[in-house]
């Protein structure tokens, strides 16, 4: 997450000999090769994108292995690659807390959400929540949760992209934002989910491959033994780097952030949407197993990358290039493989952001067109042509909004926005999904209140938290003590959903439960 913090700041004058921030020919070549390959994929995908099923769900033709890579691609943002490596290289063990936290949501996605979602829905998670409830209010509330999550996540990625590219390629911030916006629009607009999925797969392969090569080069210097690497770090910077430090000074903050990460993953609209791209529930299930393995392997590699940068580059040299520590992985690449490897890693980081932005935009467009336009405005009475046209208009609108917000938030510290997006997903989307899937007695009123209260209280409490009041507005104290509100908002959202359901009646929802429950397990007849 701190990648975004750094991105917002001007690059400090390097105190070590590094070519970061200078136009890098290798980075340019790799980056434009990535753009060329992905646009080629988009051209191929565009000719296969004719129906809404193609556009939103890649004709349900993605295999579990492919979807495993695509899920990993959607999830592993530049923040986790650069941010965690940076955090470990400057703080040691504290950074590893993030490495574990970002993974533990995936088993929850598998156990509770993936299969029912695939069997009950079509394109968005609102399909599942609305399966036996009244369409209009549920769709509007779910679209609110989706758009809030997607917008915050998008801002964080765009601002991060602008800053990173300036730091790595020497391009201007605005140019970078416009390049990201244009490439992403091309993927989504013409190639829909087919192109977006393959962009994710290529990016996941590049990111995992790049991180693996980097990790192996580090380990080669320590007899292929990670423990020898950790020992070298402890020898040089004290045994404290292998123990918890200042990051978790307040225990409740750690628990609250942990809850947001664990349950937020299961409420991220762009992740959930991926389960519709596979043929059936069994494929959805298997794809999470692959994704968890890939993402887990990646986070284990961050242990090696982080401590490798600490020992081989040094925390002071890393902070001299960028205060947030985000250039640790690129600097490590430069030490180990010279300017060409630095260029490759820089291009991978940029490709990473581009792919995540495309996935986010597609899920936001699905909420606008499928949930709001088709199901609320047109009551499900829109033909395929109209649905596709609206989906594309929504994509362009979101693309423009992303570019404008990216430019508006230039220079702002937006690091908190990713954890805020997770908190909204965990409090606004996740409880409603779980209640509607598992609880016969839940009512339209209960679910809608749960979603609205979850989303709105998260936004309000973040505003009142030290993250905004102290860190951003420089007030001396904040009304709400926790940096992340999930500890309060997740139980609150569940409680509201249960209490309002008990206070209201929804005979139709109860009546439809048996059929929905059967479909959730057995699938379409």
């Amino acid at each position: 997450m701190t990648v975004l913090q750094a991105a917002a700041q001007a690059p400090a004058g390097p105190a070590v000999p590094t070519r970061i921030g200078e136009p890098n020919a290798v980075a340019m070549v790799f980056f434009f090769a990535f753009i060329a390959i992905t646009l080629g994929i988009t051209y191929w995908a565009a000719r296969r994108t004719r129906t809404t099923e193609d556009f939103y769900a890649a004709a349900r033709s993605i295999t579990p292995g492919q979807n495993g890579f695509a899920l990993a691609g959607d999830y592993m943002s530049a923040a986790s690659f650069l941010g965690i490596a940076g955090l470990v290289s400057t703080t040691g063990f504290d950074g590893l807390i993030y490495s574990t936290g970002w993974l533990v949501g995936w088993p929850v996605v598998l156990f509770l959400i993936a299969e029912p979602l695939r069997n009950l829905g079509k394109y968005t998670f609102a399909d599942v929540v609305a399966a036996r409830l009244r369409q209009t209010p549920v769709r509007i509330a779910a679209a609110l949760g989706t758009l809030a999550t997607v917008t915050l996540y998008l801002i964080a990625q765009m601002v991060g992209a602008g800053g990173l590219i300036r730091l790595m390629f020497g391009l201007s911030y605005e140019t970078a934002i416009v390049i990201v916006g244009a490439a992403m629009l091309a993927y989504v607009l013409f190639g829909g989910m087919i192109a977006t999925t393959w962009v994710q797969i290529v990016k996941a392969g590049l990111l995992l491959g790049g991180a693996a090569v980097l990790a192996l080069l580090v380990l080669a210097r320590f007899g292929m033994n990670p423990v020898a690497l950790f020992a070298a770090a402890a020898d040089r910077y004290g045994a404290g780097v292998l123990a918890p430090g200042k990051l978790v000074a307040a225990p409740l903050d750690a628990v609250s952030l942990g809850m947001a990460l664990m349950f937020g993953t299961a409420g991220l609209p762009h992740i959930l949407m991926r389960f519709y791209t596979v043929p059936d529930a069994r494929a959805a299930r298997t794809s999470v197993f692959y994704a968890t393995g890939l993402i887990g392997a990646f986070y284990l590699m961050t242990f090696v990358l982080g401590f490798g940068a600490m020992v081989l580059v040094g925390p002071d040299a890393i902070k001299a290039v960028d205060k947030g520590g985000n250039m640790a992985a690129p600097l490590l690449a430069e030490v180990l493989g010279g300017t060409p490897f630095l260029g490759f890693i820089a291009a991978v980081a940029f490709a990473t952001i581009l792919a995540v932005v495309a996935g986010l935009t597609l899920s936001g467009a699905a909420a606008l067109s499928h949930d709001l336009w088709v199901n609320v405005v047109r009551h499900g009475e829109a033909d395929s042509r109209e649905q596709l046209r609206v989906a594309r208009v929504a994509t362009v609108a979101l693309g423009v909004v992303a570019v404008v917000l990216g430019i508006l938030f230039k220079g702002q510290n937006v690091a908190y926005m990713v954890s805020l997006a997770f908190a909204i997903a965990a409090s606004g989307n996740f409880p409603a999904l779980v209640l509607s899937i598992l609880w016969r007695r839940c009512t339209t009123e209960g679910i809608v209140s749960s979603m609205v209260v979850g989303t709105v209280t998260t936004l309000v409490l973040i505003w009142l938290s030290p993250t905004i009041q102290v860190d951003l507005l420089k007030n001396t104290s904040a009304w709400f003590p926790l940096k992340n509100p999930a500890l309060v908002t997740i139980p609150l959202s569940f409680a509201v959903g249960v209490l309002v359901s008990l206070a209201t009646r929804d005979d139709l929802a109860v009546e439809r439960f048996a059929a929905a429950e059967r479909r959730m397990h057995v699938g379409e007849a």
Binding site: V104, V227, A243, V255, F289, Y299
Partner: protein, 93 residues
């Protein structure tokens, strides 16, 4: 008969899914609470270069994946077989 079979299959699936979720929650929050309330333990060195905290952190990641493997293995064999049987029963009627 079919309704009874479906009921027991659905209940087994949720029992396993919720138990595994509880195990995951226990593992992760156990880790977080140890970090929060027992920092000296997490910093203790098992051998030169390997602290309890670093080992447990890696274990949390590995165990998460093992749990998904346990579930997928159960579902691919028992749950899917039960579903196939249900579908056959429905087709026969």
């Amino acid at each position: 008969m079919s309704e009874h079979r479906f009921r027991s299959l659905a209940e087994t699936r949720w029992r396993i899914a919720i138990s595994l979720t509880a195990v995951m929650v226990a593992i992760y929050f156990g880790f977080i609470l140890l970090i929060a309330y027992d920092k000296p333990l997490m910093g203790r060195l098992l051998t030169r270069g390997l602290s309890v905290g670093v080992l447990l952190g890696a274990l949390v990641i590995v165990l998460s994946w093992v749990l998904t493997w346990v579930y997928v293995r159960w579902a691919n064999t028992h749950y899917d077989a039960g579903l196939a049987e249900l579908r056959r029963g429905e087709a026969a009627r």
